[in-house]
């Protein structure tokens, strides 16, 4: 039985999170709006209108291109891609054909199995989105709200070798897009759309065989599912002696099956030519430097650095470089705390993450700032409060926005380290519990924990437990 290798290339469309559309000043995000309310003459292609390029689109494109290690063109051109479709008001899409913003580059995917897959990027280009259509009986309903939203299209080489790798690509890409702040990359909202080109070949071959295109898959799980199904189908066909045809397929997520789509003009000639209403995009060195001045350390590099510099386990480092706000929070807290980063990491991975999940906030939105967290940790280290007080402070600071020190003072949460106060209570406990005292003196040394507990209870948890134990031992060993 022949063994087959899977060959997958992905085409992603990324919706940028600029405030406005690429060629007009309508909003870029109109997810919740009534149809045809976020429109203007330019994005609806009225007679006589002209496109005007949004500077932020170029800047976000450059950030992404740099992150993908692509070659950025200092001069790139817009081109018209001509075809008829009701959601395309001008009858052409302004896109970039042969001289796009960037070309080349790659994304490395560390796979859970332990190897890294490098995915090459052929091309990265800017373009405008079309509107939305939906069917209603024999009619189509058209909404132009989304028309003109800025998109980046990225095309990979046929470098992925499994549905899992494809899923990983999307996961990493989504992480990177959010990390860079260029897209919300929410697949369910269409911020990240993916078409997969899938083919199979006998293992060991380096030929490329006929591929099918799977379109409109709207979640990472669906991408994985759809590709797996398609691979199985292709293998079945080939084993049965049939050829694979260059179909375009649609994934029905309810039925969990692939459907053949009506083939558009598969050999469509879009008659590309330079967009005469726009000048070429001219990136000067000064502008490029300005855009890249705050280019962030990317997740993979930061993860490696966390492991090396902070001696964090890979698992922790992975979580702490998953999302940029959390990651920046961690690093700031570590630097302010100046103690063991693992302590900070524990707080983040447990309490802080829980807080974020429950509230839906991002780490930069917490009232419990890195500085406050560091303060709490320092206070525990210095014995001013005990660990459980420390934990309870997390929520208190987050709710009130007040500094830990203020809350400790206001609520009297500070550990009592006053020797005489503890001694007084300890003496009281010893006197009140002769049986236990005898048991202890008789050899049941573990009772010290019980005694300490009693003192703590009496002092409502505010005693420094170590000191309490020390004093009790003194009293008991008399």
């Amino acid at each position: 039985m022949t063994e087959y290798e899977v060959v997958i290339g992905l085409e992603t469309h990324i919706q940028l999170n600029t405030k406005t559309k690429i060629f007009c000043a309508c909003k870029a995000d109109s997810w919740d709006d009534e149809p045809n309310t976020n429109i203007c003459p330019v994005c609806t292609g009225l007679p006589g209108v002209l496109p005007v390029l949004n500077k932020a689109v170029v800047e976000k494109g450059v950030l992404l291109a740099r992150a993908m290690q692509s070659d950025i063109r200092m001069r790139s051109f817009f081109d018209r891609k001509n075809y008829f479709y009701p959601d395309l008001p001008k009858g052409y899409q302004i896109s970039q054909y042969d001289m796009s913003l960037a070309s080349g580059g790659y994304l490395d995917l560390p796979m859970p199995e332990g190897y890294t897959r490098r995915v090459n990027i052929h091309k990265l280009h800017l373009e405008e989105d079309a509107g939305k259509t939906k069917n209603a009986g024999k009619q189509r309903l058209i909404d132009f709200n989304r028309c003109g939203v800025p998109l980046i299209e990225m095309v990979t080489g046929p470098d992925l070798r499994s549905a899992n790798e494809a899923a990983q690509y999307l996961i990493r890409l989504r992480q990177l897009l959010r990390w860079l702040g260029v897209s919300e990359a929410d697949m369910e909202k269409g911020h990240l759309r993916c078409d997969a080109n899938v083919s199979i070949r006998p293992k060991g071959s380096d030929q490329l065989f006929t591929k099918t295109e799977i379109k409109n898959v709207n979640s990472i799980d669906n991408v994985r599912n759809a590709i797996e199904h398609e691979v199985e189908r292709q293998i079945r066909e080939v084993e049965a002696g049939n050829r694979v045809h260059a179909w375009t397929l649609d994934w029905d997520e309810e039925k969990n099956e692939l459907r053949k789509m009506r083939s558009k003009e598969t050999e469509a000639d879009y008659r590309y030519f330079r967009e005469p209403d726009l000048l070429p995009i001219e990136l000067t060195q000064a502008w490029l430097d300005q855009i890249l001045a705050d280019f962030p350390e990317l997740p993979m590099q930061r993860k490696a650095r966390f492991v090396a510099e902070y001696k964090l386990p890979e698992y922790d480092a992975d979580i702490l470089t998953g999302e940029r706000n959390l990651s920046d929070y961690f690093e700031t807290a570590v630097q302010l705390y100046a103690g063991d980063p693992k302590k900070v990491s524990n707080y983040l991975m447990n309490d802080i993450l829980r807080m974020l999940n429950e509230s839906g906030k991002t780490a930069n939105q917490l009232q419990l700032t890195p500085a406050y967290l560091a303060e709490i940790l320092n206070m525990v280290d210095a014995g001013q409060i005990n660990t459980s007080t420390g934990k309870s402070l997390l929520d208190k600071v987050e709710q009130s926005g007040k500094s830990p020190a203020k809350i400790v003072e206001a609520e009297g949460l500070g550990l009592v380290s006053d020797d005489s106060a503890i001694r007084a209570v300890a003496e009281k406990i010893v006197v009140a519990n002769p049986k236990e005292v005898d048991a202890f003196r008789a050899g049941k040394e573990t009772l010290i924990g019980w005694f300490t507990g009693q003192v703590m209870r009496e002092m409502r948890g505010k005693a420094d437990p170590k000191l309490a134990t020390k004093i009790l031992l003194e009293l008991l060993k008399l």
């Binding site: 000043a25 009534e34 309310t37 429109i39 008829f84 009619q139």
Partner: protein, 106 residues
């Protein structure tokens, strides 16, 4: 003189252009296209390897004379309904067009 745009090519162009023509118009247009192509063939005297930079516009723009790019600031259209008012068929704020009837697929 053989015609460059044959009837087949012409009909293909008509369908690409989303037009449909009556016979008289088709004949006239095809004839004029072929006449124009004769004039266009004058261009064959231009060697392709002429080392001349092609630009999308005749005038040249410098960095100083090029318009500044647009700032990313939202300017809502105060009257989007004026645009909808131009559409031939609107329902519930959607623009309505007929669908493309689906062919039966296997």
């Amino acid at each position: 003189m053989s015609e460059e745009i044959t009837i087949e090519i012409f009909n293909h162009l008509v369908s690409l252009a989303a037009l449909e023509l009556d016979e008289k118009q088709a004949a006239y247009l095809r004839r004029e296209l072929n006449q124009q192509l004769k004039a266009i063939h004058e261009l064959e005297a231009i060697p392709l390897d002429v080392d001349l930079k092609i630009t999308p516009h005749g005038v040249s723009y410098t960095l100083e004379t090029s318009p500044v790019l647009r700032d990313d600031i939202w300017l809502p259209n105060p009257n989007p309904d004026e645009i909808l008012a131009q559409a031939p068929k609107v329902e519930d704020h959607y623009i309505i067009v007929p669908d493309i009837p689906h062919e039966k697929l296997d």
